[in-house]
Amino acid sequence: MGQEVAFYTLAALILGFGVLVVTARNTVHSILFLVADFLCIAALYVLQGAPFLAVIQVVVYAGGIVVLYLFVVMLVNLKRPPEAHRDRRRRGRLGVVCALVVLVEMVAITAYKYVSPTAGLPPVTTMGPNNVALVGAALYQDYLVPFELASMLLLVAMVGAIVLARREL
């Protein structure tokens, strides 16, 4: 019971904040809603038994990436609204169509899965509530090479960002 209530509340919050992120006129407000959205998603991770990810979500996404967005928005202060364009709806229509297609497709897939449930397969392993050690083991043993690649990616991104953001390009 508690879990259902929590899920539906969080789902409503996630989608609601998502709508606000996309529609907010002020970019700073948009970012604020994005943070709220990420916090709700972190809560959802807790609900799904992934507390480590929840914390990562808050630390990296809310505490790192979105702060970066906020900094950039403050550096990029505009004289005129960036939305001004002659043909406002040109790509908007396309977007709605695209989104609708994706939505229909996804609903179809999920509905199909729903009527022919494949769930009930035995779990591969059993993860207790304390699965940080499991995640760590998987990350550093089975996926060591991707992990190193990811760190290289971050290094490259860091160097790239510094070079790009320097005053003299």
Binding site: T27, L75, V107, P123, L139, F147, A150
Partner: protein, 102 residues
């Protein structure tokens, strides 16, 4: 109330993903577009965690960590480009970013 199954999470994730798509398509402000991409990445993450929970396998969570890594890299480079662009053109409107050189 029906118990929460992975399907619930998938529907939620699909909804969030679609919101991201709408954001990318509708908005002109490139910062908001990047943020919409973050929303889509998070939709994917929700799915991954749901599956990880369903199969009781930690690999899903490991992938989320990689996705977060990629998102961080993307944000850093993307925002660096925006800053560099803004310095030259004083705009973040994506429609005006059509030239290959300036």
């Amino acid at each position: 109330m029906t118990p929460i199954t992975p399907v619930h999470y998938m529907v939620l994730s699909a909804g969030l993903f679609v919101l991201g798509i709408i954001g990318v398509m509708f908005r002109r402000n490139i910062i908001v577009i990047l943020m919409s991409i973050e929303l889509m990445l998070n939709a994917v993450n929700i799915n991954l965690v749901a599956f990880s929970n369903m199969w009781q396998n930690a690999v899903g969570q490991v992938f989320v960590i990689f996705v977060v890594c990629v998102a961080a890299a993307e944000a850093a480079v993307g925002l660096g480009i925006i800053l560099a662009f803004y310095r030259n053109k004083e705009t973040v409107n994506i429609d005006e970013m059509s030239l290959m050189r300036w």
